[in-house]
């Protein structure tokens, strides 16, 4: 299934995901303020990590995201934790960030618009956007999890790291080598 969506997003990326200049809300910060800009001055790429506070696999990636943030934040890359599930309200996420010592920015995607824009369906899942909000990568963080219950002792391919490096170097961005594994995002009923 995930593969289907990956294919879809690649296909549609050039047309659907070009939002440059559009006045959009991406969600709320933990104080309830709308976020209009995920990037900012000097930011070349925005990395979104879709997460759920109650998803164990998502939580296990907290140290890895901290590592990547440390590696790339000085190179014009801005990381966001994006919480799409309605149960993850400001209070829950604030406590979670405290428990897990999360220092990256957090976004409550209350309308799930950002989640749909990135085509995320799973937590954890990553998306890389250019400063003009073109999605250049969507998928797994690394290959540690092959399936629910099939896990490597450590990752052997760091897909997200490779993608960010390539994007920063202006090279073609390598796409994920396998599906995202984790917990399904609970989508709002329409």
């Amino acid at each position: 299934m995930s593969r289907f969506f990956i294919a879809l997003s690649l296909l549609l990326t050039p047309t659907i995901h070009a939002f440059a200049g559009a006045p959009l809300d991406f969600g709320l910060d933990l104080r309830g303020n709308p976020i209009h800009d995920l990037g900012g001055p000097g930011i070349h790429f925005v990395v979104l990590i879709f997460a759920a506070t109650d998803c164990p696999i998502s939580n296990r990636y907290v140290p890895e995201i901290a590592r990547l943030n440390k590696e790339f934040s000085s190179q014009g890359v801005r990381f966001w934790w994006v919480f799409p599930n309605s149960s993850d309200n400001a209070e829950v996420v604030a406590q979670h960030n405290k428990d897990f010592a999360i220092h990256e920015n957090s976004l409550l995607d209350i309308s799930q618009a950002t989640t749909h824009r990135a085509n995320a369906t799973i937590t954890p899942e990553a998306a890389i956007f250019t400063a003009d909000m073109r999605e250049v990568y969507h998928g797994r963080i690394d290959d540690r999890y092959l399936d629910i219950g099939r896990e490597r002792p450590q990752a052997s391919r760091h897909d997200l790291e490779l993608a960010i490096s390539a994007a920063l170097a202006g090279k073609p961005v390598p796409q994920p080598g396998g599906p995202s594994i984790g917990c399904s995002i609970v989508f709002l009923q329409k």
Binding site: M1, R60, P63, E64
Partner: protein, 745 residues
């Protein structure tokens, strides 16, 4: 539809559900096949029975599955994990070993979950849901008799690979206790995958890490020093999240002695944030010592584990022939990350094959001990076999190396292992075998030596098993073999001394003990064992002066050794220094209130001084400290008799005679007590038996004569008295009895 994924898949899944409806779960349902499944009626019972033991608030599962909203929230994961049989965790193939507490979900239940998820996950009537089990944070078996806590909590980092840690919990009591149950509360259940509890009899791990043991010791596998004596009291103390309380089978408690440590060997999975492992172990005592004594043995092939990089099908095999009938109680297959297919089976002497276990897709994260529903009887001559296959290719996702590298056996998680541990209970033991576990240990060690002839642990254990069976000469030869590999090893020299002593070569034994004392490292406990054995040997040869010197030297090195203290008491008593002796016995009891020698001697002293009350107190303690020691029961009988408690005395003498059936003295004592109780016929029979065992006992013939005379069997009585006088012409009582017999009344 809630999620895009389900929406997209819906047509396919509906079709499946439809075509499946006449079979599986739907066929079992009370309602027609097309009736909607609901959480309340259909799903909650399955989740409560199979998942909620871990998946409850505060439980080991990463999320709760107690409420309808939980099931709905996690439905995609439940579906996936049950379809792949990742959950509930259960590795053995059905049909290859009949285990208790099987957690494998049935096919109808799996189908039921699938149908519910794909038909919109309706809740149904909440009132129809079964009641929830109560998972509270208290001890499951009530307040433990003793709670052990780690001295210093261990902090698991938030990220990185899995962590294997050994937390050391010293047993703080000064008395032996038997443990009928244990509950482990790891502190952070969601990150503790499993734990093995190892009894470190000699606190060896703590002594190897004198300065930093309190924070625990890293490592996946552990070798602890079992001490100098054959002590096969071995149990699977394996903990996993859904079974926090380990209750031992009836009659099989395990033992903790003063000075023992429990080592909690835990597998931890980082959660993303630092976690505090503040483990507690609750112990539940029983006053009853074990009536059944199982032993653990292992098939293993570590010597052949040398797996080429990229090899996806590397096989090792092992076998072991059982030297005695056993019942197999449980199995613990174990490998690290490359293990793939693991088979264990038994070939009986009649050619029949019985499967022990088969795991087709090994996963270290889901390892477990498996206990058989019914003990599996395997007769003597059965060949136990194992065949393990390893996958060291890049296609094995568990492979810790990328790209794969050559892997050999070792203790680190990136090394490999191939073990099939079995817990067996010897049964149908022939009367001439005192402890059948020694036969098993001997066979096991001989097999290990076939594989690795220079393995010192195997040589040492084989020699100890031989010595335990009284095969002292053979044992000494094996120790000699080990000394060739490890010359000057103090422990082996000491053990060899004991074997030579057992073989009657006590001067040679003395030499070995002295060599051991020389060879022992100075400092903590250096040479203590050798000194103790040497002192004991001297004590037995009535060289009290030398024994006193050795015991005192030993106490200088090991002042806390109660046995040395009571040994010194015996040496002093032998030398006629009764007051000094008594003082040492009392000091021994201060160090260890259960010290057998001190209790026995203090009991004897009190009994000899005509103080049956304290004597009984000491001797009752002595006989419970070592229930298999006939002398404790014998002396206790004498003390009871002093108080006129003849029936109690009789009971103790019967126990003693049961333990030492060839001890003539005991039968003689039994005869006297029975006579005093007016049971003349039994008294006569016991005295006859005593004389069969020791025909040269003049007292015995005299007593027999007295019993016969009282039964008016004058001629036989006369013959008995005359026999007594033939053995011992100056036996005054026999002479007087004979004279009385001749005097007409």
């Amino acid at each position: 539809m809630k999620t895009l994924r389900v929406f997209a898949a819906l047509p396919v899944l509906l079709l499946l559900a439809f075509s499946c409806s006449p079979c599986g779960a739907a066929a079992q349902s009370e309602s027609p096949a097309q009736a909607a499944l609901t959480w309340s009626h259909d799903i909650a019972p399955v989740l409560y029975k199979n998942c909620a033991t871990c998946h409850h608030p505060g439980g080991a599962g990463p999320f709760s599955l107690m409420a309808y909203e939980d099931a709905r929230r996690w439905a995609p994961q439940i579906l996936k994990a049950t379809q792949s049989r990742f959950m509930p965790p259960w590795l053995p193939e059905p049909g290859y070993g009949d285990f208790a507490d099987v957690r494998r979900l049935s096919d109808p239940d799996i189908a039921l979950i699938k149908r519910w998820v794909t038909t919109g996950m309706p809740q149904g009537d909440p009132k129809a849901a079964p009641s929830q089990s109560n998972y509270d944070a208290t001890w499951q078996l009530g307040k433990p008799d003793l709670v052990l806590k780690v001295h210093q909590p261990f902090t698991l980092p938030g990220g990185g690979t899995d962590v294997f840690r050994n937390l050391i919990l010293p047993y703080p009591l000064t008395q032996t206790h038997y443990i009928r149950a244990m509950e482990i509360r790891p502190g952070a259940p969601q990150v503790v995958h499993h734990a093995n509890v190892i009894i470190d009899r000699t606190a060896s791990l703590r002594h190897q890490h004198p300065t930093d043991w309190e924070g625990g010791v890293a490592g996946m596998e552990l070798v602890v020093d079992a001490g100098n004596h054959f002590d096969p009291d071995r149990h699977f103390l394996f903990w996993k999240p859904d079974t926090p309380a380990l209750v031992e089978p009836e009659g099989m408690p395990w033992r903790l002695d003063p000075g023992n440590d429990l080592v909690l060997n835990i597998h931890l999975k980082p959660s993303g944030k630092p976690e505090t492992i503040d483990a507690q172990v609750g112990l539940y005592f029983t006053p009853d010592p074990p009536s059944k004594q199982p032993i653990l043995l292992a098939l293993e092939r570590d010597d052949q584990l040398d797996i080429p990089a990229g090899d996806s099908s590397f096989v090792v095999e092992d076998s072991l022939t059982l030297p005695t009938d056993v019942e197999v109680l449980g199995a613990y297959p174990h490998a690290h990350y490359l293990g793939h297919d693991m088979q264990g089976w038994a070939v009986l002497p009649n050619g029949e094959t019985k499967w022990l276990v088969w795991i087709k897709n090994w996963d270290i994260d889901r390892q477990s001990v498996y206990r058989y529903k019914e003990p599996l009887l395997l007769p003597k001559g059965t060949v136990l076999r194992m065949k393990y296959t390893y996958d060291n290719s890049a296609a094995n996702p568990h492979n810790p190396h990328n790209p794969p590298v050559r892997v050999r056996a070792g203790n680190r998680s990136e090394d490999e292992m191939g073990h099939l541990w079995l817990q067996v209970l010897p049964v149908n033991t022939p009367p001439n075998v005192s402890d059948p576990r020694l036969l098993i240990e001997e066979a096991w060690m001989r097999r290990r030596l076939e594989k690795t002839p220079t393995d010192q642990v195997s040589l040492y254990n084989l020699a100890a098993a031989l010595a335990g069976q009284g095969k002292f000469t053979e044992a000494a030869a094996v120790y000699q073999q080990e000394l060739k590999l490890n010359p000057g090893d103090a422990r082996t020299l000491t053990a060899m001394g004991a074997a030579l002593d057992g073989a009657g070569l006590w001067q040679q034994a003395q030499d070995r003990y002295r060599a051991a004392i020389q060879a022992a490292p100075t400092g903590r406990a250096g040479g203590c064992d050798a000194r103790f054995d040497l002192a004991n040997l001297e004590l037995r040869h009535d060289d009290f002066k030398a024994a006193e010197t050795e015991f005192r030297a030993q106490l200088a090195a090991c002042p806390e050794d109660a046995e040395a203290r009571s040994g010194l008491g015996e040496a002093l008593q032998g030398a006629g220094r009764a007051d000094d002796a008594e003082r040492e016995f009392r000091r021994a009891l201060e160090l260890d209130p259960g010290d057998f020698t001190a209790l026995l001697n203090l009991g004897s002293i009190a009994s000899d001084a005509g103080q049956p009350e304290p004597a009984i107190k000491f001797l009752e303690a002595a006989s419970s400290a070592r229930p298999t020691a006939p002398e404790a029961h014998e002396k206790l009988a004498a003390a009871y008799a002093q108080q006129g408690r003849l029936n109690d005395a009789l009971a103790q003498l019967r126990i003693a005679a049961g333990l030492a059936p060839t001890d003539a003295k005991l039968h003689s004592s039994l005869s006297q007590v029975l006579d005093a109780l007016g049971q003349s016929e039994e008294a006569f029979a016991e005295q006859k038996q005593a004389l069969q065992l020791d025909p040269n006992d003049a007292d015995g013939w005299n007593n027999l004569g007295a019993l016969l005379a009282r039964g008016r069997q004058t001629d036989a009585a006369r013959a008995a008295f005359e026999h007594a006088l033939k053995i011992q012409p100056d036996h005054a009582q026999a002479r007087a009895n004979l004279a009385r017999l001749s005097t007409p009344k």
